[in-house]
Amino acid sequence: MAENNLLEMRQIEMTFPGVKALNKVDFTLRAGEIHSLLGENGAGKSTLIKCLTGVNKKDGGTITLEGKEIQPQSPQHAIELGISTVYQEVNLCPNLTVAENIFVGRQPMKHGQIDWKTINRRASELMSRFHLSIDVTRPLSYYSTAIQQMVSIARAVDIQAKILILDEPTSSLDDNEVQLLFDVMNELKKEGMGIIFITHFLDQVFAVSDRLTILRNGQLVGTHKIEDITKVQLVTEMIGKDIDTIFSLKRAEVADGEADMLVATHIGAPEKLEDMSLNVKKGELVGFAGLLGSGRTETAEMLFGATRITKGEIAIDGSKTEIKKPFDALVAGMAFCPEDRKRDGIIGDLSIRENIALAVQARKGFLKPISTKEQNELADKYIKALGIATPDAEKKIGELSGGNQQKVILARWMATNPKVLILDEPTRGIDVGAKAEIQRLMLEMCGEGVSVIFISSELDEIIRCSNRIIIMRDREKVGEVDGETCTQDQILSIIAEGSTAAGGEAS
């Protein structure tokens, strides 16, 4: 069995100051195999990959590629060895063209000059292999994140890799795009490439992988063939706890006569969203379903003043509120965890303490500083309450894992005691355990009377948590269903059929 292993990692050890990140982990990959690597945040997946791609140097153990021991020194060296990686965040240059991005650093030359014709032709060919007919001479930023993701995979594939590592490639893709990616993965698999697939979407693991390896707290839990394991077993192994204790979430209870906390009437902004109305009751959790780009995020941004509305009005707690900028929304008692945590959420080089205190401080203005002592109390309180995994509050937020970063952002807003909390994809790219915790926190806040707007691409979590679900399509509200009684199929059909779904308005 071991003879046809493409890659063997044996007894890998890695220690960071104070933490044993990897403790004698074994991992094997065969040629022509899709192997999922699973585990919660901080389980050691990224560290293991980083040892393989030369980002970190392992402290112990051996890595064997095609029978030969290798010591990847740097990402560049790993690529030369045939190990290509596509990261969760697109690692390309948005201002270069698609073709340039694919060939940057290894442009074909002709007469001492870059051969643009060949570059563009080969780039087109490559993209058509991914069933994408796009203009490769346009700048990358012109295209959606999904296509950008494809471009970075195309780049990795074209380097003639033996091993392709996909680190959360699907977190910003919608279902069709995911399917497209899977087709490409299966094709590459047929060509004999070994693919390591890291994701938090368990459905996808079962849809595409051959084997899977589970890590927990830097330890190997086990490697299984996909047909030998069930989803429940998998989750239990990942979190080391019984799944029921985590998934027993209780929906928020809203009294019938409860007053509206947030009412938006016919709000709109040019080129964003024409017309949108919604209301959220005190302590109610309203879910937003719809595809990417359906107007969910735009609605959230308009409510919070990130996009200035040009028509309509917003009332909070019964009083009309003019929201021109996020600061106004903050003062009015709103809070907003944006979709793109890295771009719009974290202040990477500031400490956890400073990040948590930021919104409270912004509301007070800079002339009334919160003392370091108060900041520390605030930080310690939320590190404890939300279970943020960090040695202390002075660690830079940029050095935390995704789930912990999300918790810090959540803490930033919880610290402002908001009346309305808007969460845009708060559980994207974080593991099952942290996801459940964030859902629990969300519902706890509802219980304390906070109105929550919850946007997510994952229908099951929306259905599990929401009192009401608003369905968006093509920048329009196309339906509204009751969270307790609706089914996934019902929502999907409304998304598919659009505003024709007459039953949509019954709530």
Partner: protein
């Protein structure tokens, strides 16, 4: 328990290497001139004299501007207009102080306008010009380097127009005090600098302003979505930098008791940026160090002094200055710092081993 002496952290800090560089340059100065550290008291002026005092005194203009520049750079920008604003400030001051040729034959101890105007108008004008920079950047969305290029280019022109292209001189003694007077045995520019540095440091560190500047510099979008008024922060920083350039301009023109639209504040923007960078603040924005900037400014001035002491021909001074600065910057570069911190680590292990 005693706090551990962390050699690794110290060797990793850019500030450490700035201190090392300064000490080295001072040692070279000491070798060239054995009486370099000597400080004497002169009764006639009531001031202390000595090379060290002189270095700090002469670094005042840059230090004051660099306080603002530190914040500008922490925001991820640069302000190229500061040198031109120094010229504008001096031109306005001298316009009000000018030697009235029709009435007097020599520049004398008098002023055309009230002394308050002489001080206030230049500062207000520079503040407004800084606000103009801020407006272009915050509202207009221009890149700071381009936006401030406008005033860098036309600022000296404005100064020329204000003074009709003339160079005024004055002998008004209250104005002389700013650049040549003394207080508490020290030259007045040092006192002004200390006050400015203290005021800026208190403003940014005792309020949350510094954190907001860092936050906006690291991630403007996220800062805005956290409720920080990023535009206001940008306005304040650029207006402050303009204002500080105005103060610097008053000191400069008081030293020469004249205005010089062509040479006043020449290349100050570069020296100020350099002071900030030597002080350990990254050009990409984010965390900043005001103390580092002060040290950076003093280092630059020490180098200039050293150049004089070596008696290098004036044509070559710039090249020599550049050479030393290059060495300082290389000393602070990441590979060098990492090299030394690794060595420090090894030594730490060795010491531990010895104890056991």
């Amino acid at each position: 328990m005693k706090k551990k002496f962390d050699l690794t952290a110290i060797t990793k800090s850019k500030l450490t290497w700035a201190v090392v560089a300064e000490v080295l340059i001072l040692l070279v100065c000491l070798i060239v001139r054995p009486d370099f550290f000597k400080i004497s008291y002169q009764e006639s002026t009531g001031m202390l004299y000595g090379s060290l005092i002189d270095i700090i005194n002469r670094s005042s203009e840059i230090t004051i501007i660099a306080m603002g520049m530190t914040l500008v750079i922490a925001l991820g920008g640069t302000d190229l207009s500061v040198g031109a604003l120094v010229a504008v400030s001096g031109a306005i001051a001298l316009k009000f102080l000018r030697w009235d040729v029709l009435e007097y034959t020599t520049p004398g101890d008098y002023t055309v306008c009230s002394y308050a105007l002489v001080l206030i108008v230049p500062l207000v004008v520079c503040l407004l010009m800084g606000l103009f920079n801020g407006l272009l950047i915050a509202k207009g969305g221009m890149q700071p380097i381009i936006a401030t290029l406008i005033l860098m280019v036309c600022g000296r022109g404005i100064a020329q127009i204000l003074t009709n292209g003339k160079q005024f001189t004055t002998g008004y003694s209250p104005f002389r005090v700013i650049g040549q007077g003394s207080f508490l045995y020290l030259p007045m520019p040092i006192i002004i600098t200390v006050v400015v540095v203290a005021a800026v440091a208190l403003f940014v560190r005792k309020t949350a302003f510094g954190t907001f500047v860092e936050s906006v510099g690291i991630n403007r979008s996220a800062s805005r979505l956290s409720g920080i008024n990023a535009q206001l922060i940008i306005f304040i920083v650029f207006a402050l930098t303009g204002f500080l350039s105005g103060i610097s301009g008053l000191i400069y023109s008081s030293r020469i008791m004249s205005n010089d639209s062509n040479n006043a504040g020449l290349n100050y923007e570069m020296d100020a940026i350099l002071a900030v960078v030597i002080g350990g603040t990254s050009m990409t924005g984010g965390k900043f160090s005001l103390a580092g900037t002060v040290l950076g400014s003093i280092i630059i001035r020490t180098i200039v002094t050293l150049v004089y002491y070596f008696g290098i021909a004036s044509e070559a001074t710039m090249a020599f200055k550049a050479m030393i600065i290059a060495v300082v910057i290389v000393l602070q570069s990441e590979p060098v710092r990492n090299y030394f911190s690794k060595r420090a680590k090894k030594r730490a292990y060795a010491v531990k081993g010895g104890v056991i």
